[in-house]
């Protein structure tokens, strides 16, 4: 292989066409073929020479990236004038153009209007260089602080969760511990080479350091608190910090519990905050979220389809939350759906089923459609378009029929605009022109005429965009789901309700591990609030205090003591019959609550439990429950 590469090195020469093009650019036409060949060889050689010198500068600059200044310095070495004004720290965007059988790459220098420069506000002054000290190692052990890399990479997290036996083999713990002590956080590579001494990660105790506890407390409080600036910071931290994996179980529990509580209380703001946390977690590239989908997906689905998400459905913009959650759902389907867990198909099934149900309320209906529509054009084509007529009739009944309630009407309006928005672009693609209103009416019923105009608009827009694409370089702007709409909508209308927003977090923070624990090794007892909500608003709370020390068992009668000594995944089996449409069949739901201070083994067991616990039926039923009719029944299901 090396040989092949070398041969390539040997023969790489600039094409003679480039020589011609360059000659033309300086006014020399009709360059002979031989001179081109000679020139290109010479130029290639010189360029290689300069590149080699530039590498020297890169090495001494202690960088891995060759910069334009390195080239400049290399040119200077050779007494050649450097390329002035060609400074770029990052990638240099060369443009490609072809025409007349020629292919060219060139650097586009845009013409800039001076007045533009003068009128634009000055950019922020770059931050000055500063020094920051931290402990990389304390007497040979690397402390796990944010400044140090996470002790476990995503890959490790994955193997830990999928193949727990591989991680720690019985009888080798001791060896692993010694190795771990000596090697600290050895990079994963190179370990495999040690024969006999397979480096084992010692059983990681899932206790959080004091710093982590503080961090968790700060982050969760900021995420659900009232200060938007703080929240943005916290979300940013969740989305980027690489050392969060140990806190991931807590975050996911926080979110799922938070959703449960707040759906019941119809606290729209908090639900939005929690969904933004989900989004941030999903954005974090170092986290292996697959382990916690069983908690996150129901929470997200709840936010999409729940019948009521806010106190005043006629005023509050809970639609935005549904949209946002639907986008989240689509994103997680895209990232996490595999042939084994079948998330996408299961989600689709869930949405479709409830959409087809006549009794479904407009809010849930909206959520189902949004959820489906976000899954992509194919889903829209196969599932939504065929039902446009039926849906149109239903909307018509509400819009033009006798006024039942204002809420229904608003719901129907939103469903209508949602359908129009999503279907128009798809129809524009699959339906041949011309767009005939009558034709549309026959095809899609009540919604037909409106669809027709939307489709036409979509077509003109597409044409416009295509033109733009032709004219400029291709810039792909991907719409990123963000949710800020609701904030503004809320702040005006929910003045009096802010106390409740603040109140809830304070109770939620109880879930965080006790902060400020001194560095003694015993894990802190963790408190959980499990809210069991019976019909209506009446709720009972059970505070389960758990500590992961060997002897302690959860202080609650409803919780069966967990399988082995130290691992206590709280598996609660609850059977009951849901009211309403799901009443026909008894529901079984496993709720796995991972305990913050339990040992790592708990994770392993839990992960082995996982497949069964979120097997398709239980997941479906769980989702169904959460979007089912009576608000009480929907959310109290877990407990």
């Amino acid at each position: 292989m090396a040989e092949e590469r070398r041969q390539k090195q040997c023969s790489v020469v600039l094409p003679t066409e480039s020589m011609k093009a360059m000659a033309e650019s300086v006014g020399v036409g009709q360059l002979q073929e031989e001179s081109c060949a000679a020139l290109s060889e010479e130029v290639s050689y010189r360029i290689k020479e300069i590149a080699q010198d530039a590498l020297k500068f890169m090495h001494h600059g202690k960088r891995r990236k060759l910069t334009t200044s390195d080239i400049d310095n290399a040119l200077k070495l050779k007494n050649v004038e450097p390329l002035y004004g060609f400074q770029s720290q990052e990638f240099i965007p060369f443009r490609f153009a072809s025409g007349g059988g020629r292919e060219l790459h060139f650097y586009e220098e845009k013409e800039v209007d001076l007045s533009d420069i003068i009128n634009t506000p000055l950019p922020r002054v770059p931050l000055d260089v500063s020094l920051k000290a931290h402990w990389l190692s304390i007497e040979g052990v690397q402390p796990s602080i944010p400044e140090n890399p996470p002790p476990a990479t995503k890959e490790q997290q994955k193997t830990e969760s999928t193949e727990p036996l591989k991680v720690v083999k019985p009888g080798q713990e001791e060896e692993g511990a010694i190795q771990g002590k000596n090697q600290g956080a050895t990079a994963p590579d190179g370990k495999g080479k040690e024969k006999g001494l397979i480096k084992l990660k010692p059983r990681s105790t899932h206790e959080l350091s004091v710093e982590q506890q503080l961090y968790y407390k700060e982050i969760t409080e900021a995420c659900v608190g009232s200060c938007e600036a703080k929240r943005a910071e916290a979300l940013q931290s969740i989305a980027t910090d690489p050392g969060l994996y140990q806190m991931l179980p807590r975050f996911s529990t926080f979110i799922s519990e938070g959703v449960r509580v707040n759906v019941v209380q119809n606290n729209l703001a908090l639900l939005i905050y929690l969904m933004r946390m989900v989004k941030a977690l999903m954005d974090n590239p170092t986290l292996y979220l697959e382990k916690y989908l069983h908690e996150l997906i129901p929470a997200v689905v709840t936010c999409i389809v729940s019948k009521q998400l806010c106190l005043r459905p006629d005023v509050d913009n809970h639609w935005a939350l549904r949209d946002f959650a639907a986008r989240l759902m689509a994103q997680s389907c895209k990232t996490f759906s595999t042939t084994t867990n079948n998330i996408q198909s299961r989600i689709t099934k869930t949405f479709t089923k409830s959409w087809l149900d006549d009794k479904t309320q407009w809010t849930t209906r909206y959520g189902c459609i949004a959820g489906l529509a976000e899954l992509g054009a194919d889903v829209i084509k196969t599932l939504i378009l065929p039902r446009l007529t039926v849906e149109g009739a239903r909307i018509k009944a509400v819009m033009e029929g006798p006024v039942v309630s204002n809420i229904d009407k608003i719901g129907a309006e939103h469903v209508q605009s949602l359908l129009l928005k999503h279907c128009a672009s798809v129809i524009a693609k699959i339906r041949p022109q011309p767009d005939n209103v009558e034709q549309y009416r026959t095809d899609y019923g009540y919604l037909g005429p409106m669809l027709c105009s939307h489709v036409m608009k979509a077509r003109t827009q597409a044409a416009l965009q295509a033109q733009q694409v032709n004219r400029t370089t291709l810039t792909i702007t991907q719409p990123r789901p963000t949710l800020s709409v609701s904030q503004s909508g809320l702040s005006g209308s929910t003045g009096p309700r802010t106390p409740s927003i603040i109140k809830v977090p304070s109770s939620l923070t109880l879930m965080s591990p006790r902060p400020g624990t001194p560095s003694q090794p015993s894990p802190p007892a963790t408190k959980y609030i499990v809210m069991a909500t019976s019909a209506g608003a009446a709720s009972t709370q059970q505070v389960i205090t758990l500590s992961s020390s060997q002897s302690a068992s959860p202080v609650t009668s409803t919780v069966p003591s967990a399988t082995s000594t130290s691992l206590q995944p709280l598996v609660k089996l609850e059977s009951g019959s849901g009211p309403g449409m799901t009443a026909s069949r008894p529901l079984q739901k496993y709720i796995v609550v991972s305990l913050p201070s339990s040992a790592s083994s708990s994770l392993e067991t839990k992960s082995s439990v996982l497949p069964s616990s979120i097997s398709s039926t239980s997941l479906d039923t769980g989702m169904k429950l959460e979007r089912s009719e009576s608000p009480g029944a929907s959310t109290q299901s877990p407990h």
């Binding site: 060889e41 500068f57 070495l77």
Partner: protein
């Protein structure tokens, strides 16, 4: 002109060797050149050849070269004088003159070995075309703009280009068929042969043959030559050879091979049987075969030592005596909380040595037999402040943690934030109170890492107002208004690649791409001197541990020794075949180690400028060097991610530490030398058990004599810890006086 070891040498050469005090291969032309300069005062040009690296056998040629040069420039008078002085015959300048006379002195007869008879007959056939005289000037003027045509003319002999491949592959077949024990040794021949044959082809405009030759055989070469092969591969035209450094390196320096006598005989017999003149010619002309008696070396032994641009070091290059011991510590009474007593002692006669608790210090009572004499290099007098500092140092050392495999040091990491990849060099003061950073934007910044802020001295006008008699005058001269955490030093006009604090913390040195080394005052935070000399980027600089002297090395392939009060260098250490990438002073200030892109490390004697050690074995440019605190060992790190350990006294490689996956930019021994810390571009700092690495050595006489190293592969046992940073290359390491490890690097988001 292969000067074969143990071969007979003619009279002129013998005389030369006698005049060489050190007998090392390089940079020992002093005697001859002293003569030359004195005899030709009018011709200043040849003086430039002082700096050339020419081995002892080449002195004769150097002379010839100078003569030719003079003749060419019609300096007939000088020619006459020089010739008379050197005792050369009249006709020695005739390039095609009889081989047996002057020109041949350095050439043909030099390579007559034990089988002199048929070897020389063979030689006489092949060496006629290549004129010894014509080649010689290359060596002489390589430092200045070399006359490339002359250099290259060595390649002008015409062989059938089509046959090159045949020659090479027949040799390949032969070497593959010899006994296993010889194969590894003889395989060393491949690379230099390959390069020279390729260059010959290119020179003679056989472009396509050259290409196919390259393609056919470049894959066979050892992977560590890949960088050079890349350079070579781009070289396809005769015109390209002009000014190509790599080529000149190859041409001007003989590739050194170390081969056992048996293997060499085997090779020679084969080549003679086959009448393979082309190859034999190259071996004679461009290779220096160092023949030793005894067992052929194994593949791993060869691999350990090879990799350098010019082959292995000659054995005799590492034979000179090196005084690696430490100097006696100046006797300073440890103050018994009594400042007055101490002051008395310092004034008068230093006596009554007090045993220090320092582990090194205990030895220093007696003169180390390996230590240089105290006055070998004139060292600056200790000032009062230095003595105070020494006392502080001793006090601190008593609180030092004894490190070992079980007690690893804590590492405090200083991250440079917002440096945008612009951090190029870092240094700490010895007492760890200041940290300095050199940046790609030409600035040097100094931070105080203690609560003590950095203050400037007041302006001259303000200083006048100060009561000079007051006790706290040193405090009073400082300008409180200028106190800040950090100071920026502006002055360079290019990236700052090297930085070094003076031991007394009063000065800071910085070296830059702009070709200067600057001396900054840390009292006034201004530039004091700009040392110009390197006309090309200066890659590294370092103060001597005793202050006053400093060394710098750069792209111009030389290292220079300076004194702070001289604007011209005191010594120029020349011999490296490529950029000098890093420079380090020996703890006793008598030696300087330099690492280079030619993948060798050289140790230079400060006293006479001689190169006393050449260490080969690295497979990439060397970017980090560190002496052990006892002065016995040297550690080096290179782009290949390996740390090599060297025994300075014996001139041997004694260890190899594998583990890093990228360039090693910093190496540092703990204060007592138990732990070696290495920092690398792969974002890790690693700790190695240096005690174990050095204790396990048994350097018997045989190994010392032959230079055959047996390295155990025990990197994993020696590795004590690996500490990853998030995204920060570790570019500097420093042990505080209490053995806390400080590391520094810039965070790359």
């Amino acid at each position: 002109m292969a000067a074969v070891q143990g071969g007979q040498v003619d009279a002129v050469e013998e005389k030369d060797i006698k005049t060489e005090p050190s007998g090392d291969g390089f940079g020992n032309n002093n005697a001859n050149e002293g003569r030359m300069v004195s005899t030709s005062p009018g011709a200043s040009a040849p003086a430039g050849s002082n700096k050339t690296a020419a081995g002892a056998p080449e002195d004769q040629q150097t002379l010839l070269a100078v003569l030719q040069f003079l003749k060419k420039n019609n300096l007939t008078e000088s020619v006459e004088i020089l010739r008379r002085e050197a005792g050369l015959p009249e006709n020695s300048l005739d390039p095609n003159g009889a081989d047996s006379t002057g020109a041949g002195a350095g050439g043909t007869t030099g390579c007559v070995d034990l089988e002199g008879g048929d070897a020389s007959s063979l030689l006489s056939r092949v060496t006629v075309s290549s004129s010894a005289g014509a080649q010689a000037p290359t060596k002489a003027v390589a430092e200045d703009q070399p006359d490339v045509n002359v250099v290259l003319s060595a390649y002008s002999q015409q062989g059938d280009p089509a046959l090159y491949e045949v020659y090479y592959s027949s040799l390949k077949k032969f070497i593959e068929s010899v006994l296993d024990c010889h194969r590894a040794e003889l395989s060393q021949v491949f690379y230099p042969l390959f390069v020279h044959m390729y260059l010959e082809l290119v020179y003679n405009n056989h472009e396509s043959e050259a290409k196919s030759f390259f393609e056919k055989f470049s894959g066979d070469q050892e992977c560590y030559y890949e960088d050079d092969l890349r350079v070579l591969s781009s070289l396809t035209k005769k015109e390209h050879m002009r000014g190509n450094e790599t080529l000149l390196d190859f041409r001007t320096s003989k590739f050194v091979l170390r081969i056992s006598r048996d293997s060499y005989q085997l090779l020679k017999r084969h080549l003679q049987e086959r009448q393979n003149n082309q190859i034999w010619n190259i071996i004679q002309e461009h290779l220096y075969i160092d023949i030793f008696d005894g067992m052929p070396r194994s593949k791993s032994q060869i691999d350990a030592m090879s990799g350098s641009l010019a082959g292995e070091a000659k054995r005799e290059a590492n034979k000179a005596k090196v005084y690696y011991g430490l100097l006696k510590e100046p006797e300073i009474e440890l103050p018994l909380d009594d400042e007055d007593e101490e002051a008395e002692n310092e004034e008068g006669k230093p006596k009554k040595k007090k045993p220090k608790k320092d582990s090194m210090g205990s030895k220093s009572k007696k003169q180390d037999p390996n230590a240089p004499s105290q006055s070998r290099i004139p060292l600056p007098e200790l000032k009062d402040s230095d003595k105070l500092d020494k006392i502080m140092y001793m006090k601190e050392s008593t609180k030092k943690i004894r490190l070992g495999p079980d007690t690893l040091p804590s590492i405090c990491f200083y991250s440079f934030l917002n440096a945008y990849q612009g951090l190029t060099a870092v240094d700490f003061t010895d007492d760890s109170s200041l940290i300095a950073g050199g940046f790609a934007d030409s600035t040097v910044r100094v931070w105080s890492v203690t609560p003590k802020k950095l203050r400037k001295v007041k302006s001259a006008a303000d200083l006048n107002l100060i009561d000079k008699e007051s006790d706290d005058v040193l405090e009073r001269i400082m300008d409180e208004k200028t106190a800040s955490e950090s100071k920026i030093l502006y002055g360079h006009s290019g990236p700052v690649y090297g930085i070094s604090f003076s031991p007394d913390r009063n000065y800071l040195l910085s070296s830059s791409e702009d070709g200067t080394v600057r001396l900054w005052s840390l009292q006034t935070y201004t530039c004091l001197v700009g040392y110009k000399g390197h006309n090309y980027p200066v890659w590294d600089t370092q103060f001597s541990p005793h202050g006053y002297y400093f060394v710098s090395g750069g792209h111009d392939r030389v290292a220079r020794l300076w004194a702070t009060d001289h604007y011209q260098p005191l010594r120029i250490f020349s011999g490296h075949l490529a950029d000098v990438t890093c420079t380090r002073f020996h703890p006793n200030s008598n030696y300087v180690a330099t690492g280079s892109s030619d993948r060798t490390i050289r140790l230079w004697d400060v006293l006479n400028g001689n190169c006393v050690r050449i260490f080969t074995g690295h497979k990439g440019p060397i970017h980090a060097l560190a002496f052990s605190p006892n002065g016995k060992f040297l550690a080096s790190g290179a782009t290949d991610g390996r740390v090599l350990l060297w025994d300075i006294g014996h001139g041997l490689m004694v260890g190899e530490l594998k583990g890093h996956t990228d360039t090693i930019y910093s190496l540092r021994f703990s204060r007592d030398g138990e732990i070696l810390a290495s920092g690398s571009m792969d974002n890790t700092a690693r700790l190695w058990d240096a005690t174990k690495a050095f204790d396990d050595l048994e350097t018997d006489d045989f190994t010392a004599a032959t230079g055959h190293v047996h390295l155990q592969d025990n990197s994993q046992e020696l590795l004590l810890g690996t500490y990853m940073t998030k995204s920060t290359p570790v570019i500097h390491l420093h042990f505080t006086r209490r053995n806390l490890l400080l590391a520094a690097g810039s965070y790359n988001a």
